[in-house]
Symmetry: C2
Amino acid sequence: MPTIRDVARLARVSVPTVSGVLNGTRNVSKKTSLRVRTAIVALDYHPDQVARSLRSRRTQTIGFVIPDVTNPFFTDVLRGVEDTARQNGYSVILCNSNEDPVVERKRLAMLYSRRVDGVLIAPTDFRSVTERPLRRDFPLVYIDRIPPGFSGAAVVTDNLGAAYEATRYLISLGHRRLAIITGRLNISSGRDRLEGFRRALQEANLPLAEEHLRQGDFGLESGYLQTLELMGLKNPPTAIFSCNNKMTLGLMRALGELRIACPEQVSVFGFDDFEWAANFSPRLSTIAQPTYELGRLAMEMLIRRIQNTRPEGKDKDKDQDKDDKDVDQQQVITLKNELKPRDSTARFTQ
Amino acid sequence: MPTIRDVARLARVSVPTVSGVLNGTRNVSKKTSLRVRTAIVALDYHPDQVARSLRSRRTQTIGFVIPDVTNPFFTDVLRGVEDTARQNGYSVILCNSNEDPVVERKRLAMLYSRRVDGVLIAPTDFRSVTERPLRRDFPLVYIDRIPPGFSGAAVVTDNLGAAYEATRYLISLGHRRLAIITGRLNISSGRDRLEGFRRALQEANLPLAEEHLRQGDFGLESGYLQTLELMGLKNPPTAIFSCNNKMTLGLMRALGELRIACPEQVSVFGFDDFEWAANFSPRLSTIAQPTYELGRLAMEMLIRRIQNTRPEGKDKDKDQDKDDKDVDQQQVITLKNELKPRDSTARFTQ
DNA sequence: TTGAAAGCGCTACCAC
DNA sequence: GTGGTAGCGCTTTCAA
């Protein structure tokens, strides 16, 4: 495995000169530059990123912590993150927290040990992230979910608004008995979606029966079980709003097993869109989040924050970074969602 | 950011002693050890993996190169890879090749520069991988797909056998006019699935009409377009075998648009199982690959290969590693697939 | 049981 | 323009 010294030797120049050629960080004569390049090719030399990172205090690596790799929402976001990272010379270390705060904390500690330049996170729990040492140690951008009373960098979508619109849509179809299967209520996306639903009901002067408010956890199983209970009620709802893709899947399975026709007997509106939602029957009515954009914007914001944080030199006064002109510091970007009413919702006729 | 020296200073010991305590690689008296541990906690010290990697020639990182992060097949595999990697102290850098050989080569070069300990790859192209310098530079385990005439480390599934069985199943239902939408035929999975289909037909003395052999590329669009053509034929097939999940999705979309009922008018058997396949109507008949296992076994094989490759010291005779007792060196593990006949296939009645 | 010193491959800061 | 030298944070001899 050739090193920079081998290249220097072969090109009969000094090591710093080779480094200069590699990084374009030094004035080098045409002739020398050519000799160096030739040597690089001849030896098939590839600079050691590890050594480079140690020296420069930059790993060109970011961590991306998500609760579930198998959820298409997150993999779509991941694609946006990965593409944008690559384009800017960053690699992505993927961490699956499995919706477990303990695992999440471990992953963050590991990312810290690896000296990643920054972290993108869809958190499961806010203690993981507000506690030391994680808060100070690298630029962090929240994605998809934010802590209550949050002020910091984040990219999310308008969960409340989209849930509100979808619910209004159901109401406009004539539905009066609406049920919701919520997500986890300890994170913003779960809470906001419930809140949007509530508001639309309130505005229409519709009651939300206790029994029609079912708490799920974003997992398939919870959607399945809650639907079973919901449809077993004496007064089953005529429309169900499901707060994420996996739960919608469980919901549809339950409906299938109960032989309840959708949308004839019950309408379904689900948060999250995905390839199959539009290609199977019934074609699902969904809220499409701009997943790729979410990933792209979050990554761009993270890169900006990384660039505004000089790699820790000899630390002088602590917190000297406070006055960074980093506009992103306190920025929360909220993206619009798109309603995709399709065939799983129908007009309610008594 | 505290370093090992800060810890040493605070604990009033030498740097190597701290290192010894951290790695359990040195006999240290109880008392000193305790002092060191206390200092570590007090300073909230986290060893710098970058420096450690530079010194030890191990990054505890592997690269995972896949053609499509949004394909649930690969993300399910990814979960197996990630879990197993973590359990063994490895991190995963994810690389999306987008089925593009050029991108793939770039990613491999980058992984090399980052000095990953090894690579797992579902290749799009075999030149990427057989050419220098990639072949020699890190342990490589193929996953899901192997080059023609391959001898090396790989974990794949029995594509040929599963396609054969699925086709026989369709035949047993009375179908005589079967069509196939193949995957990319320059990789083993695509080829083997076609071959299995062919064999079953041959054995049953059924012809494969030229027009019923449609070449797809594993993408949704190709499944969609080929189905459109297929069902527009004068003699449309009564059963279609689709060679992966995305194409099956396109297939179902085409059927929906053409208002062709499945399974009443045409039976569909698809390669790859996924959550939604069993939860929507029609519940899809699929071939379920052991995705998690695939990832787990491949990662385990890679770890074994990494451990049998001493980190390049001063290279003496080249190829001295040849005599490694690495049984995996030439090993190809083939996992069984499972047929899941469901509701998208029905008996053919004239 | 412990410490001093060397060095992994690179970049940055000097001189010239 | 170019080269010498120091040093990033750690592990690994080698002595004591």
